[in-house]
Each structure stands twice: as C-alpha cells, then as structure tokens.
Amino acid sequence: MLFRKRKKIEGEKKDIPEGLFLKCEKCGELFYKNQLEKNLWVCPKCGFHFRVGVDFYKKILFDDGDFIKHFAADLESQDPLDFPGYKEKLDRAKAKTGLKEAAVSGLARINGREVVFFLTDFRFLGGSMGSVYGEIFYRAAQEAIKRNIPFISLTSSGGGARMHEGIFSLMQMVKTTVAVVEMEEKGIPFISVLTDPTMGGVMASFASLGDIIIAEPGALLGFAGPRVIQQTIKQDLPTGFQRSEFLLEKGFVDMVVPRKELKSVLSKLLDILGGENGRSQTG
C-alpha cells in the first residue's frame, strides 16, 4: 500500500496519438510511437522498458496472441467496506482499460506448450490486489493442478494490497500463498515474472514464491515504496535501489530478462521444469 504511482502511465493508447513522437522516460530520446511498438516498447537507445498492459504481453508471449480459454472471467469486485470513492474508481478503471479487474488468467500456449498464465495490469487501480485478484489467482492455480501443467504469473502491482478493500485485501496475500502451497504439493512448476512495478503485498506474497523468479530490466521491485523509505530514514536512496538489477545482485531474483527474450527464456524453462525426460518435441 505504500507506493504512489508515477505520474505518467505508459502504454496507454489514448494518451499516445497516432504518429506522434514519444520521449523515453529514462534517456529523454524521442522516437516514433510505431518505432517503439515494433521494439516491444523498449527504448532502442537505452533499453528502458516502458510499462505495457496485459494485452500486449498476451500478444508477445502467447502463440495465439490471447488465451485459448479464460478462467474466472465472471468475478466482479464488491465494496465490502463501503469505502469512499471505491465504486467510482472501479468504474473508471473498467472504462479506461476495458478490463473487469486488475488481474486476468487463462490457458495459453507458449511455443506449443500449454500453461496457465496469470497477469496483472498496472493501469487498473495500480494493479492492486483485492478479493477478486486473489480469487482469480487461486482458481488459476487450481486449473494448473487439474491439468497438471505449469503456472506462470506476470505482475505489475504498484501498491500491493488494495487499500479500498481493507483487511480483505491483506488476506489475499495468504490466499494466493495457499494456492502456491497447493501447487508445490502437486509438483506444479511456478514461474514468477516481475515487471515494473511489483511492490508491497504482492511482492510480499506469491510473487516472491516462484520456483523461478524472473525480472524485466529496470523494474521497481520491493516491499516498501521508495518515498516511504525516504520519509522514514531521511536519507537519499542509493542509485538503482530496488531495481531488478539490485535484486539480482542481492540474490532475490534468478535473472533479469529483456522483454524481447522473455518468451524464449520461459519456453526453455518450461521444457526443463514441465517437460518429459527429453527435450519437448512440440517447440
């Protein structure tokens, strides 16, 4: 709950008119929008990874460009606390993103291999975890167990647990972990892909519990938001603090993988973790 989103939300179509130049957030270089899109929203000059939504990841990772089958698509958030402004915020997020919630899941194919994929979208209330998010995760894990296929999560969650659902959101940290334990007991491989940003209650639950943990370059990853830390300790934070490369150095992620290589790395891991004794014949 401790991280405030950055002012600019990248990859949001209505903010990026056709044919216009776009400035890299990191190096400041100007690019054509379609030039960036062709480069998977990665800055050709400095390698900065722009935030993209779930549809973009589906397009670049899945053989079919989308789920073969959606799971738990009928779940809808309620307002159990009658929290000021929550219903309106949900409505705005739905209208803005075309999504029903911050999380989606379904059956997908990656180089011919079936997996259950769970993704979250930062544009929907910061990708925060409420009751529906937790339930979608849990049910998706059950599908992976039922089908005996690997499970991959790809997260972008600025605030972690969703404040507006109070204690119920906090409990989703445990519910998603119940799902992780159940997968573990059934020998289901679980790969966690961390994208910018994955913080708070999401990072402090399932996202940190993958058998393999992969991070996109430069993603902000951690427990407390940098502003909160700064206010608490009243010191400047070191350069690169809480970024993917920092976590790699400290030993909390297995690898930092550029977006362009993500599909092929996932595919290789699936071959080893989820395959038969030999190399997969389908890929």
């Binding site: 109070g166 204690i167 119940v178 708070g200 990072m203 951690g222 427990f223 603090f241 400290k250 030993g251």
Partner: protein, 316 residues
C-alpha cells in the same frame, strides 16, 4: 503517564477519589462520598468507552502504557527461555521468540515488541521487524513443528520496517516465506493481536488456526495516516481514514477475519494490565485445548481452508 483526550474526565474523578482516600483516616463520613465517586467513575468509563469512534480505538491500541508482548509473556508463560537470532544475519529485537509453558502446556512464543522507554524503543526499532526478525520467527516455527510444540504469536507492530537494509535483505521475500511456512505447520497455531496489527508486518506472523484480538486492538492493510495521505494527500485526516478502513477488533470480528474478541478491563488494558493478561491466557488455553484434539494433518488443512475462504466478490 499519557492521558488521551477522551480519558481526561475519568482521570479527574480518579484523582479526586485518591485525594479523598488520603483524608479518609481523619473523617469516616467521606466513605460514602468515595463510594459515590467510584460509582460515577465506573459509569463514566462505561459511557465513554461504549461510544468510542474508530480513531479513538486506534489511539488506545497504540497507547504507550498499554501492556506489551513482554508483559503478556511475563504474566502468562512460565519457565520462558528466550531464543535469539536467525542464524544468518543477526538477532532482531523487534521480535521476541522462545519456549515455555502456559499452565502445563508447552508453547513456542513469537511476539512483536515495541519497547517501553526511549532507549528500548530504539533498540527494538519501535516493533518494526527487519527480514531477519521474520527469519528468526521462521526458525522457531520449524523448531516447534519438529518437536510438536504449539505456536502462539503476539502481534503488535506499526508494520515491517521500511528501510534500505530491510530491502537489501529481502523484506518482501521474508514475509512471503513466513506466510507460506505458517500455512504448512502441523502444530496448533494461535495468534493474538494485542495492540497494533500493521499490514504485512503483522500478517507475516498471523497465519493461525485461531486468530484472537484484544478489544482495543486494530488490524489493517495500511495505517490510517498512510491511507489518508494517499486518499487526500493529507495524513492529518487519519481519523476519517480509520473510519473508512474499518480496522477495529469489532469490525474484524464482524467480517469473520478474527475468531474471538478478548475482553479488556473497563477503560482498556492499560487500566489494569493483570486483567488483560489473565483474559488472554484463559482464551489461549481454551483454544489450545480444542486445537490439540486435531491431528497434525487436520490442523494444516483447517488453516489452509480458513485463509482460502477470505474475500468478498460477486460472480455473474
């Protein structure tokens, strides 16, 4: 001694009673007046505490004179042997761990401690654990599991510490692993929220078969101050945020998140710590006895099912 605004009238009567009692030796007629005042004090307390708003309850949960984990351990646990260190980095004084007995029952204790005076508060980091605190807790959980000792956790923290070292050493990973380990334990686990249940820093040691909360304790996804500064960019509107977050023991009981509210003495635990300690001990023993009837497998299953069930959503 810290006196909260809404406690003032009670303290004033209390002071008068003490003064009159001093004069009692000279004038026995005062006895009746003292009795009257004492009755009035009781009524006033009852009235004030029945109508507390959520923000006032937050202040009680954080009251500096409120009994802390060390007081509960001292009052409830016999032959307590404190165990130190995560065997990896250091000993985190924000979390006290150890073994002992409650009556004749073996227990492993994991407790967050804020510290009492300034020096101790700094040493204990105001009850905000670092990753090594949670890793120490996990060490004791494994020990308890191995020797079939029930685990009792006492929650009282503003939250897990937000700092550079904490992040460098994997605060998020430590909390996640602790939640996971607690789910898998094959011994009875009981959590009591005794003061402040601050978000993930509390949850990391609160995945229990039975979760109890003292009447004036709180448990929340975010502090009211943090919530107010996100919602209205104004942390001084914390009292409104406390209302919105519905974070009191009563709220949590109504939501089914906690299993039982443990009564505090009139006016709150700090008015009579012995009563609070005794009440918690009775509640812990009651639940411990009933959990001990379950098999190791059933204990784990019950815990997993309980936390799997939390959440409010519609399905269309």
């Amino acid at each position: 001694m810290k006196i909260l605004d809404f406690e003032k009238p009670i303290y004033e009567i209390d002071k008068k009673i003490q003064e009159l009692k001093k004069m009692l030796g000279e004038d026995s007629q005062l006895e009746e007046e003292i009795a009257n005042l004492e009755r009035r004090a009781r009524e006033l307390k009852e009235k004030i505490y029945k109508n507390l708003n959520r923000w006032q309850k937050v202040q009680l949960a954080r009251h500096p004179d409120r009994p802390h984990a060390v007081d509960y351990i001292k009052g409830m646990v016999q032959d307590f042997i404190e165990l130190h260190g995560d065997r990896n980095f250091r000993d985190d004084p924000s979390i006290i761990t150890g073994l002992g007995f409650i009556d004749d029952y073996k227990v492993a204790i994991i407790a967050e401690e804020k510290g009492r005076d300034t020096k101790e508060k700094i040493w204990r980091n105001f009850g905000m654990p670092h990753p090594e605190g949670y890793r120490k807790a996990m060490r004791i959980m494994r020990l308890a599991d191995k020797f079939r000792i029930p685990v009792i956790t006492l929650v009282d923290t503003p939250g897990a510490f937000p700092g550079i070292g904490a992040e460098e050493r994997g605060q998020a990973q430590a909390i996640a692993e602790s939640i996971k380990l607690m789910l898998k334990l094959r011994v009875p686990v009981i959590t009591a929220i005794i003061g402040e249940g601050g978000s993930g820093g509390a949850l990391a040691i609160a995945v229990a078969n039975v979760v109890l909360a003292l009447r004036y304790s709180i448990y929340s996804v975010i502090s009211p101050e943090g919530c107010a500064s996100i919602l209205w960019r104004d942390s001084t509107r914390a009292s409104e945020a406390a209302e919105a977050l519905k974070l009191t023991a009563e709220d949590l009981f109504e939501f089914g998140i906690i299993d039982e509210i443990v009564e505090e003495p009139p006016g709150g635990a700090h008015w009579d710590p012995h009563v609070a300690v005794e009440n918690l001990k009775v509640a812990l023993l009651k639940h411990l006895k009933s959990l001990l009837r379950l098999s190791p497998e059933e204990l784990k299953k019950q815990r997993m099912a309980k936390f799997r069930s939390f959440g409010v959503f519609a399905e269309k």
